[in-house]
């Protein structure tokens, strides 16, 4: 997708994808043939630029076709540059501007509770994204409203647009911050499937308060030259790099 469009965000797509694949496979209650089903769990990709990962998953799950992936960043295509609920089935929020998904997810969680529905709201946050102040407005409000049906996965890939997070804005003890806001917190290796499945189980079973799974990930995971490389936050591989990536990922286009 990103190679074809010669634009997009491969790094964060590769860091998040193990987590999202596991979530969709083991926990998320959705219906690919009825994407607007009222009682579906909501999944909000707050780091909406990491859309290639989401589109690939939606195609695997049957929300969209594999051919739809060719429309990524193409005029009129359902796979808009950043995930968009108006364009793509299975997308619950039009993200792309960082720091918005948690608040939106909180609204979904409140609505579910008000309606007496068992549905949950899952939100995928990026770590750079939590530098946005309004994330912490939402973190505080979600605990105040005791939203046990609000579940967050934090993709802690340690890299943001310009550079490593450590260079751009040190965030110090992230788990302690969420704990201090009253959240249930668990930390895992975001590429170890056993730990991921345990982590999702933790989210499923923690219903007394909002919960966050902090997943240590590697930006660009699986592609040697992208791994831990800030240059591949928002850059497309060239032809040669593309071949290498496909070989390393064992993928077919």
């Amino acid at each position: 997708m990103v190679h074809r469009a010669q634009a997009g965000h491969p790094g964060g797509s590769l860091s998040e994808i193990d987590l999202m694949a596991a979530l969709y496979s083991t926990s998320l209650r959705v219906r690919p043939d009825d994407p607007d089903w009222d009682d579906r769990d909501r999944f909000i990709l707050s780091k909406g630029h990491a859309s290639p990962g989401m589109y690939a998953l939606l195609a695997e799950k049957g929300f969209i076709s594999h051919d739809d992936l060719h429309s990524y960043r193409v005029l009129g295509g359902i796979c808009q540059g950043h995930v968009d609920m108006k364009w793509c089935p299975g997308v619950d929020f039009s993200a792309g501007s960082l720091g918005m998904g948690l608040s939106f997810g909180m609204g979904c969680a409140l609505a579910a509770r008000l309606e007496g529905s068992e549905r949950r709201a899952f939100v995928m946050l990026g770590d750079g994204e939590i530098q946005e102040g309004s994330v912490w407005e939402a973190a505080m409000a979600a605990t105040h409203h005791e939203l046990g049906n609000l579940k967050v996965i934090l993709d802690r890939n340690r890299i943001q647009n310009d550079d490593f997070c450590l260079e751009q804005m040190r965030m110090f003890d992230i788990p302690a911050k969420w704990k201090a806001f009253g959240w249930n917190v668990m930390e895992i290796d975001g590429h170890n499937m056993t730990e991921i499945v345990d982590g999702i189980k933790f989210l499923d079973e923690s219903n007394n308060a909002p919960s966050i799974l902090i997943a240590q990930t590697i930006k660009g995971k699986g592609v040697s030259y992208m791994e831990d490389n800030p240059s591949f936050h928002g850059a497309a591989p060239n032809d040669e790099q593309f071949e290498i990536a496909m070989n390393e990922l064992g993928a077919v286009e």
Partner: protein
């Protein structure tokens, strides 16, 4: 002397009346006592969401609820809604989620809190957003009726209400005459048309009285809906009067005057004078003092009418 009331009270009353619809929810950012959503909160605490002093979060919580089938009314001071402008733009207007934002205490009329609280740009900024209806009613009756209509809308809105009391104009009118998108002709004249909104509608009526004493017959329009603008009505009064004045407690840039100017420039190029806050900030003062200081009161509308007529 007509009854005096603040438009924010009409908003509070409308929320109470809307409560029969169990999809209606109210969101607050610690100013429910001021915006008047408190009445709803007292009657329906389970459907009232306190967002603390966090407007950015509030707008998107409302968006999430709207996406789940609820009808959220979120209010705070007009000026503080502006902090969440990008949330309104990207999280509400872009996905066209029917979140209804009410900004109370708008304009310099809000008074002694001073310029930090006097939103004079809200109508302009929200008017730039696709899908968003922008309202600024002039009395508590029309505020109540328009707020209730919003609950049936499938798109988002921004409504400005005022802190302080102004004359009530619509106590005895047929409620069906007050409709989103339709300006109301309060006075029919042939010499000049004054198109006003919000707290300046009653000033426009006073101006028309003063003009009448000079033998000038002025049309007065309550243009409570800034977007979509009732362009048919603007065209009709432009044709009939040949001179137009807009009047608003808002910057002369981008609000009602801006909207009318944009329309006229593409249609009749009828002479237009804009009464509004002249690209400056306010200060502390009583509501009537502020209208005078900002050159928004009836005598200033009269002068603008004379200038517009001179340009015919």
């Amino acid at each position: 002397m007509s009854r005096m009331a603040a438009t924010r009270d009409g908003y509070g009353q409308a929320l109470l009346e809307l409560a029969d619809n169990d999809k209606v929810v109210v969101l607050e950012a610690d100013l429910g006592k001021s915006t008047k959503s408190l009445h709803f909160r007292k009657a329906h605490p389970e459907r009232t969401i306190s967002c603390g002093i966090g407007e950015q979060n509030m707008l998107l919580v409302a968006a999430g609820m709207a996406s789940s089938g609820y009808i959220p009314f979120a209010s705070t001071f007009a000026i503080f809604t502006e902090r969440a402008f990008e949330q309104m733009r990207n999280g509400v207007a872009r996905p066209n989620l029917a979140v209804h934002v009410c900004g109370s205490h708008g304009g310099t009329h809000t008074g002694t809190d001073g310029s930090s609280a006097q939103s004079i740009e809200d109508l302009a900024i929200y008017r730039t957003l696709p899908n968003v209806t922008v309202l600024h009613p002039c009395d508590d009756v029309s505020t109540r009726l328009l707020t209730k209509q919003l609950a049936d809308s499938n798109s988002p809105s921004y409504m400005r209400t005022a802190r302080n009391k102004t004359p009530v104009l619509y106590d005895d009118v047929d409620p069906s005459t007050i409709q989103i998108g339709k300006g109301i002709e309060l006075r029919e004249g042939v010499d000049v048309a004054i198109i006003a909104c919000g707290v300046l509608v009653s000033e426009a009526l006073k101006a028309a009285d003063a003009l009448s004493e000079q033998g000038v017959h002025a049309t007065v329009i309550d243009m409570h809906t800034i977007k979509p603008l009732d362009t048919d009505l603007v065209d009709r009064v432009a044709e009939r009067c040949g001179a137009i004045v807009t009047a608003e407690d808002h910057s002369v840039i981008g609000g009602l005057g801006g909207a009318v100017a944009e329309h006229l420039s593409a249609s009749s190029c009828t002479p237009l004078e804009r009464v509004g806050v002249n690209d400056r900030f306010g200060e502390s003062g009583q509501a009537d003092e502020m209208l005078e200081l900002m050159e928004l009161s009836a005598p200033h509308i009269v002068k603008a009418a004379q200038r517009a007529m001179n340009r015919k």
